[in-house]
């Protein structure tokens, strides 16, 4: 049998490591202002947020559902979605975080990177 003290130590170590890793990953800047929108792992749009001069709306529609994205100079967010959990909408604006906006039910991911993918439809 394992001692309770050992268990507590293991759990505390995991917790501290995870907190450190989260802080490191989330506070790290994305290193760029190009928003790549992926659907099913495939690049759909590559939007250079710094090159934008006005508000742009993108509608991503599949047989799973609809997400409406709004890009403004320097930031992007999911304005509305018909998914059940609304996690992607609640995320709010993505400005310089390395953490992506995810809509798991619709398999949609929005991630900031440094480079534009030349093969993608730039700016929609």
């Amino acid at each position: 049998m394992v001692k309770t003290r050992t268990l507590v130590t293991i759990i505390l170590c995991i917790l501290l490591l995870a907190i450190a890793a989260s802080l490191f990953l989330w506070l790290r800047p994305a290193g760029g202002r190009v928003a790549n929108v992926y659907l099913d792992g495939e690049l759909l749009y590559s939007i250079d947020l710094d090159a934008l001069t006005e508000k742009k709306t993108y509608t991503v529609e599949t047989d799973r559902g609809v997400n409406v994205l709004v890009a403004e100079p320097g930031r992007i967010r999911v304005e509305s979605a018909d998914c059940p959990d609304q996690v992607c909408v609640d995320f709010g604006w993505l400005t310089d975080s390395a953490a992506p906006i995810v809509c798991l039910p619709h398999r949609l991911v929005i991630q900031l990177t440094g480079e534009t993918d030349v093969d993608a439809e730039v700016g929609g």
């Binding site: 995870a18 907190i19 959990d85 609304q86």
Partner: protein
């Protein structure tokens, strides 16, 4: 399967489902997919430690399937299943080395394993490895919620094991 066992497991499944549906009404604490209390796991842990692996697995699978159906979120099924099964496996292994008083720890590791399983499924489904960036924060959330549900399950086992076993 005898009638008594069937009824007992059905009642526990109903309890788990009720908790699951009620928990859906609680607003998301953080805009991160997968951060939730996981209160229904209290029933899984309780069943595993009082009734054994077969009954607990049956209750878990019924709850996940019916829960996805009732919440109208069938697309969440694959995430729930991979998370649920991985956490069940971890609890099964831990059950062999933990005493009844250390039951809460099984729940902590189970919650962390559940979130890991969900991320693995999400990475596979969306083909987006960068989702692993959510692993640390989901681990923190798993430890905290696992402690809570683990403590609840430990109380439940202490009070209910006499009722459930006979």
């Amino acid at each position: 399967m005898n009638l008594k066992r069937l009824c007992r497991d059905a009642v526990l499944t109903a309890v788990a489902l009720t908790i699951f549906i009620v928990e859906l009404q609680i607003p998301d604490l953080l805009p991160i997919p997968g951060v939730k209390l996981g209160l229904a796991n209290i029933v899984t842990v309780t069943a595993l430690f009082t009734l054994g692996p077969v009954d607990a697995l049956a209750i878990l699978l019924c709850r996940i399937l019916l829960g996805s159906l009732f919440s109208g979120n069938m697309m969440a099924l694959v995430y729930s299943l991979s998370g649920g099964l991985l956490s069940f496996l971890v609890m099964l292994l831990l059950k062999k080395i933990l005493t009844a008083k250390q039951l809460w720890a099984a729940s902590v590791f189970a919650a962390v394993a559940h979130n890991l399983g969900q991320i693995l499924a999400a990475v596979a489904v969306t083909a987006t490895p960068s989702l692993f960036i959510y692993l640390p924060i989901l681990t923190v959330s798993g430890v905290v919620t696992g402690l809570f549900t683990g403590a609840a399950a430990q109380f439940a086992v202490k009070r209910l094991s006499g009722v459930l076993k006979n």
